[in-house]
């Protein structure tokens, strides 16, 4: 009985479960955020007058554009954090790629039992809370933290190095958090690489660098793109890492949204900035999709 049911409807189930999940937990919140971004702020519960309403008078939609106009009027206040977010997210992605590529290569080229152990090791940091890992990092980087204490003790430095509240501490936090997200897709594309290709290239006299440039890199490009997206997208909107590890100079859009939401109590403007942030994030995704299609044809 069940078997017949699954044979008949299994396909639909497989398709509609994820669709239902995504519409419930991704599309609806997104639509609500767009709704709030076009609403008028007020002092009430909730603190905005919804643009889209289903009430006694039926369905009404009266968008207010003031929130986007306000961002436009004060663009100087928002541009710098936006540029800063993109800068920090971009270099975090570059650093992740720099460290992840050799690691992924090593894992992909290892013998089976070792490979599994290495993969588990890559995933292991996820077993502890990211917040705890950030506090551990603070314990390392602080002026009186482990690293400075050791360097002072060893006589290498005389005064503690200021590592916290710098770009360096942000990149450390980003790397610690996002490195596995870069390693895994790289590993997935490198492990499928056919050894015969590399041997053939070597037989024909290609140097290591040439093999890497003409064979390995192009074939692992989908993994590189996937890894970069997986790191860049959450990094650009990151809130916790710059809040804990960064100083005021590392102001990112995540904190700006926090400020609009909690300090100005302006949920609509906060939503509008978040929508703009999503637009910024979508650009590289669209570009990557475009690249993908190019690659296929």
């Amino acid at each position: 009985m069940m078997r017949i049911f699954f044979q008949k409807y299994g396909f639909l189930l497989v398709i509609w479960l994820p669709v239902g999940w995504l519409s419930l937990f991704f599309m609806l919140p997104l639509i609500e955020m767009i709704n709030v971004s076009f609403s008028e702020a007020r002092r009430a519960v909730p603190p905005y007058n919804p643009a889209f309403q289903i009430g006694e008078k039926g369905i009404s939609f009266q968008p207010v554009f003031d929130n986007y106009l306000l961002i436009y009027d004060y663009w100087g206040d928002y541009l710098w954090p936006a540029v800063n977010s993109i800068r920090l997210a971009f270099f975090s992605t570059v650093w992740c790629l720099f460290f992840a590529y050799p690691m992924a290569w090593w894992i992909a080229r290892s013998k089976k039992p070792l490979q599994h152990i290495l993969l588990v090791l890559v995933l292991m940091p996820f077993w502890t809370s990211s917040l705890l890992r950030m506090y551990a990092l603070i314990g390392l980087l602080n002026p009186n933290g482990v690293i400075n204490d050791f360097l002072l003790w060893a006589g290498i430095i005389v005064t503690p190095i200021q590592m916290m509240q710098t770009d360096f501490s942000i990149y450390s936090g980003m790397l610690l958090t996002y490195l596995p997200l870069m390693i895994l897709p790289l590993y997935a594309s490198l492990v499928r690489l056919d050894n015969a290709l590399l041997e053939a290239a070597a037989d024909l006299g290609a140097k290591n660098w040439e093999i890497f440039r003409t064979i390995i890199l192009p074939l692992s490009l989908p993994g590189v793109i996937a890894g970069c997206l997986l790191v860049f997208i959450p990094a650009v909107g990151e809130f916790v890492i710059p809040a804990l590890l960064g100083g005021p100079e590392q102001l990112m859009l995540g904190k700006v949204i926090w400020t609009e939401f909690f300090r100005n109590r302006d949920w609509p403007v906060a939503a509008a900035i978040a929508i703009i942030l999503i637009a910024i994030i979508i650009l590289p995704v669209v570009y990557a999709r475009y690249q993908d299609k190019e690659g296929l044809s």
Binding site: R43, Q165, A243, T259, F262, R263, R265
Partner: protein, 362 residues
């Protein structure tokens, strides 16, 4: 007030949003803001099952109240946040006749809070305190001599002093509404002003000492000043005493003290209030009544080192706390204390902009 907003951010997910059965009470209070056994004693005495959650910033509490259906029956916002929340219709009036111990309340303190709240039935002041300067006397004296102005905002706000203290570390609260009005007082403007020019002048004064600041953060300085990583910080009174206590516990040789600057400072009041959609209202009243008992209130003060809104409690409060001018200000200091007005939306935006410019350092 305590710890980072980040911890609170993670606490977002920990909403206990239901309370249907009789005999429950859901309380949402500041972290480290109650004696260790108060809740257990209350449960033992009344049989009411208490769920006790904590937050560490007014903003987090406010967001939950404005979103509605928080599931909490009793919360403790600071008066200006409560005033705004009441305007939004997020809180209900309390019926003082149901709280027999309300007679223990300090009429003067409650009166000042009521003025700010524009109502006599918004809630009862739990604790109150000031914003001032916590400092490490030895480290300051090393750099500024024995006549260092450890009674004035100029210790930090005068760029000359700030420059000399840069190497031992200065920090400032990340709380614009508690810092900017005080900088205005230091500059000779009224701390209660909502004039844009005054806020901007305060922002410029802060920018002048910006290069010498270690950081702007509301929670980090407690540990750092206790460890000797920083030597002076604009802090809330209770946090400063928590730092002093930690330094004493650690026996690291650092002695931390706190003062209310002679130019004056703003007072704040944390008020026990009932959300409009509280489900266990009767139990909330029972709890407030319990908290208003003189002995219970005194135990809480002896634990958290903030001044109580409870006058009758003073008989059982540790004399060291009662006689400290940083906690219970002298009559002379009281004259210079002020209560900031509840800002409107436009002023909020001015305050945030001035603050962001200063903290970004441009």
């Amino acid at each position: 007030m305590k710890w980072g907003f980040v911890v609170a951010f993670s606490g977002f997910t920990a909403i206990s949003g239901y309370a249907l059965a009789e005999g429950n009470l859901n309380i949402y209070n500041w972290s480290d803001y109650i004696a260790e056994d108060t809740i257990a004693n209350f449960e033992a005495e009344t049989g009411i099952n208490v769920t006790y959650d904590v937050y560490d910033s007014n903003e987090v509490l406010e967001a939950k109240m404005l979103a509605g259906s928080s599931g909490y029956d009793l919360v403790v916002p600071t008066a200006d946040f409560l005033a705004r929340g009441r305007e939004a219709g997020a809180y209900q009036d309390i019926d003082l006749s149901k709280i027999s111990n309300a007679k223990n309340q300090d009429a003067d303190i409650q009166g000042q809070a009521n003025n700010m709240l524009n109502s006599a039935s918004a809630g009862l002041v739990y604790m109150w305190g000031s914003t001032g300067i916590a400092y490490n006397g030895d480290m300051i004296a090393e750099r500024l001599g024995d006549d260092a102005p450890t009674d004035s905002w100029s210790l930090i706000l005068d760029p000359e002093n700030a420059a000399k203290l840069e190497d031992c570390g200065i920090a400032i609260l990340d709380a614009p509404t508690d810092v900017l009005p005080n900088v205005m007082t230091y500059l000779g403007f009224p701390g209660t002003s909502t004039d844009k020019a005054h806020f901007e002048a305060a922002g410029e004064a802060l920018s002048a000492i910006r290069p010498y600041l270690r950081y702007i953060n509301s929670s980090q300085s407690i540990n750092d000043i206790a460890n000797g990583d920083i030597c002076a910080a604009i802090m809330w009174s209770g946090d400063a005493f928590q730092a002093a206590y930690r330094a004493e516990e650690a026996e690291n040789g650092h002695v931390i003290d706190y003062y209310i600057p002679k130019e004056g400072t703003n007072l704040w009041f944390d008020v026990m209030a009932l959300p409009v959609d509280a489900k266990n209202v009767e139990n909330a009243y029972k709890f407030v009544d319990y908290m208003m008992r003189a002995d219970v209130a005194a135990e809480n003060v002896n634990y958290v080192w903030y001044a109580s809104g409870n006058k009758a409690a003073e008989a059982s409060i540790d004399p060291e706390i009662l006689s400290h001018p940083g906690i219970y200000p002298t009559d002379q200091a009281k004259e210079k204390l002020f209560v900031t007005p509840v800002y409107d939306t436009k002023t909020d935006r001015i305050v945030t902009r001035v603050w962001n410019r200063f903290s970004a350092g441009n």
